[in-house]
């Protein structure tokens, strides 16, 4: 029998309670809004990218369910020091994990800590909560003015 703890792992509960990299960056050069109209989750992502295309700092603000807050918190931790291209690739891997078959083991090597979110596969209505921050990140990388959606 599936256990709710598979979705709400302690790491997720902790990140929800005390999200990392929460708040506006003092110094940033990319930002975007993300919005999930279904549940009202709202995120804002700030990026500081240097001339070499490396993410020097990243943060987020907003409100949402535990999955979306924890996912954003984990994402910001994972992105620091990555290039823009690497973070886009990571999004691809994350997206794949969130929608893959249950018997496929998530790629720990690429995704690291982010694999705690693999449990959303069991909850089709919650996949968007986990991916909203990544769509928002992509919008920030591309400097899109309109809020990112998960469609």
């Amino acid at each position: 029998m599936f256990d709710l703890r598979d979705l709400y792992q302690q790491v997720i509960v902790d990140h929800n309670k005390s999200p990392r990299n929460f708040g506006k960056l003092a110094d940033f050069n990319h930002e975007a809004d993300g919005y999930n109209p279904l549940c009202g989750d709202k995120l804002h992502v700030y990026l500081k990218v240097n001339d070499a295309g490396v993410i020097e700092d990243v943060s987020f603000e907003g409100e949402g369910c535990a999955i979306s807050v924890a996912s954003a918190s984990l994402m910001t931790d994972a992105l620091k020091g990555k290039t823009m291209q690497e973070s886009e690739d990571m999004f691809g891997h994350f997206q794949h994990m969130a929608t893959s078959e249950l018997d496929e083991a998530p790629d720990e090597e690429v995704l690291g800590k982010l694999t705690v979110l693999a449990g959303v596969r069991e909850f089709p209505s919650r996949i968007k909560c986990a991916t909203l921050c990544w769509h928002t990140l992509l919008a920030a990388v591309k400097d899109r003015p309109e809020p990112a959606k998960t469609e």
Partner: protein
Amino acid sequence: MFDVEKVRAEFPILHQEVYGKPLVYLDNAATTQKPQSVIDAVRHYYERDNANVHRGVHALSERATASYEAARDKIRELLNATSRREIIFTRGATEAINLVASSWGMTNIGAGDEVLVSEMEHHSDIVPWQMLCERVGATLKVLPINDAGELCMDQLDSLLGERTRLVGIVHLSNALGTINPVKTIIEKAHAVGAKVLLDGAQALAHLHVDVQALDCDFYVTSAHKMYGPTGIGMLYAKEALLDAMPPYQGGGDMITMVTFEKTQYNDLPYKFEAGTPNIAGAIGFGAAVDWLKKTGIDAASAHENDLLAYATEKAKAFDGLRIIGAARDKASVLSFTIKGVHPHDLGTILDREGVAIRAGHHCAMPVMQHFHVPATARASFAAYNTRGEVDALFAALTKAQELFA
């Protein structure tokens, strides 16, 4: 004597498990389940009577037409409308409001006029008026709510004026459970010459409605929130208003004579029912009205009030729970938030315990804005719910809290 077990036995869908737990269905404000008699009525129509209405000369068409029109009579009686000509079948409450906004609104509301709605309206009683106001240059005004989730009735007089053409008010709020003092609102609106539309999408499963006693001009509802099928609802409007209104959509059934020079519109109610209607839906709607009458609206709502009082008591004792909507006059809806657990997470956790609730903005974003919450969790009760199910709800909430501790 109201026997909830007997009522439950009439709803086949309730007798199932989800994730290995007995289903506890507390999302009735979104849509109610359907009794066997409604399912049978729809099925009987498709198995025995299926034909188009109002046009065939054959036996099946005559039977289909008779059942379709009988449903209209049942609804007329339920609402105590003067005439069956005042009952228009629509896709639901939403389409009924859009019909009024387009047809009546475009002819009676102009630049500088005002439409008054309340802060607790469902989006379906906001957006059509907003669209209309934008098109004709009218102004949308808002009657605010207080922190108990009641209309600020002391502000009504100052918001009504000679430019007010229409007042749109929800009879029973889906987001808060508030029952609004609609009789007073209608009297005051009429005193300034405004018409009143009541959104009864939630009301008819729980309250007696007498459109003549209320003297409302328009009343709308959806069958699926009162034990009937989806995709069918109705508009009640006073006959004199309907007579003067232009058709909403053009097509078959709504005409008596068509040439390329001129078309003669059909009589009421058909003038507003263009195209082949949802025949099976209307017949199911009629069966739902029969079921409500047989079960007894008074007995059912007394039972639901008991459940609401029981749940409210438990909610007040629950650590970290905030009730959203504490109106004195209230029915069937318990909207709430829990400290530290987002409503969306509550919804998922409760689901795995077999408890179906709604988490979200309930198509009433202004209500969420008023209470400064992104969303609420909402348990809503119907005639077939039990105190045991309320217990299951709170056991699941405890589990959610533990998971997040």
